[in-house]
Amino acid sequence: MTEEKKDKGDKEEEDDDVFPFIEGETIDLVAGNSKWANLSCKWRNDPKVRHYARNIWPQTLEEVKKRFEPLPDKQMRDSIKFTIYHKQSKRPIGSIGFSRINWVNRNANIFAKIGEPEYWGKGIAGEASKLLINYGFTELNFHKIYSGVFTPNKRSLRAAEKLGFEKEGVLKEEMYVDGQYHDVHRFALFKRDWKKNNE
């Protein structure tokens, strides 16, 4: 089977079981689907993608599949993930979500990853982040959303500022990337500020 045919097959199949949970302009946030495990595995191992997503371990398909397994009943989630689904090309292109959710302190870390580099630089991560942030504040009732960006990731630094995040601090030489230590900038967005900016 050629790569082209396989892609086509995937697309046809995808149309009837992709249910947008949050609708955007160019993308929707949809629930993850185990049939995308291969794709997710590709993204996680892709050198260009994992450089920014900070994944330094090879990920087997088996490991990735585990991430799609349902949680035990009634367990509070400490992360909530979505697949970013491109509406026009009708294909999943990345993932986004909250991790390290603390339900008492009402805060969480936001992460985003566009796994298909051809979609970089088109404002998609920004659009997806806005949708997710709105969800975090209006549905999950978070007080604060934060994110850590390491210095060379200029794109994410800019994106964070554009979204209204403010720098809270710098963790010196926190992350070892490509042979050297880098600072991590911690950004945070409070619900009250986000509300003001979105009135």
């Binding site: 009634k74 367990q75 509070m76 400490d78 339900w103 008492v104 302190n105 009402r106 999950l140 009732n141």
Partner: protein, 185 residues
Amino acid sequence: MTDDIPIFIGGENIALIPLNIENIKLYAKWENNPKVRIYSRNILPRTVEEMKKYLEPSDKRPKNEVSFEIWHKKDNKIIGFGEVSDINWYNQQAYIGLLIGEPDYWGQKIGEEATRLLVEYAFNELNIFKLKASILVVNKGSWRCAEKNGFTRVATFKKDMYVNGEYLDNYVYSLLKEDWLKLKK
């Protein structure tokens, strides 16, 4: 002697302390006591073994209930338990519940103080937005505890519980954090 009491929240006459497996027989005694169980609405015999399940560590994180023993300071005695239960972390709501297992200590405003400590804990430490309490119509002592702490009766479930041969109404009380803060001023 009281040095080894692991006080978690201290009050005037009582303190809330963690549950303790060594007191399991005491818990079973309270839950089976006819005078007590009318109010705690326990209609099944409770074995010590069953009571032990309350003490099994839960893997739920964050917990959806938090229970304490109520320790009487002066008498150095465990007299009941209190809990914040059915915590819904998405909506930041929970129920508050109390059992004074030693009827000798009824009518001494201990429930009132225990309620106050539990309410403070739920609002100030757990970041709960709204508390509720479900109280049987005949359980006047508990209404008083709730009302003294600012709870208001928001619902009456008609003939909600079958107790001693008849259906009794059940009240739901509620307290919003914002109203509680106003009351404290």
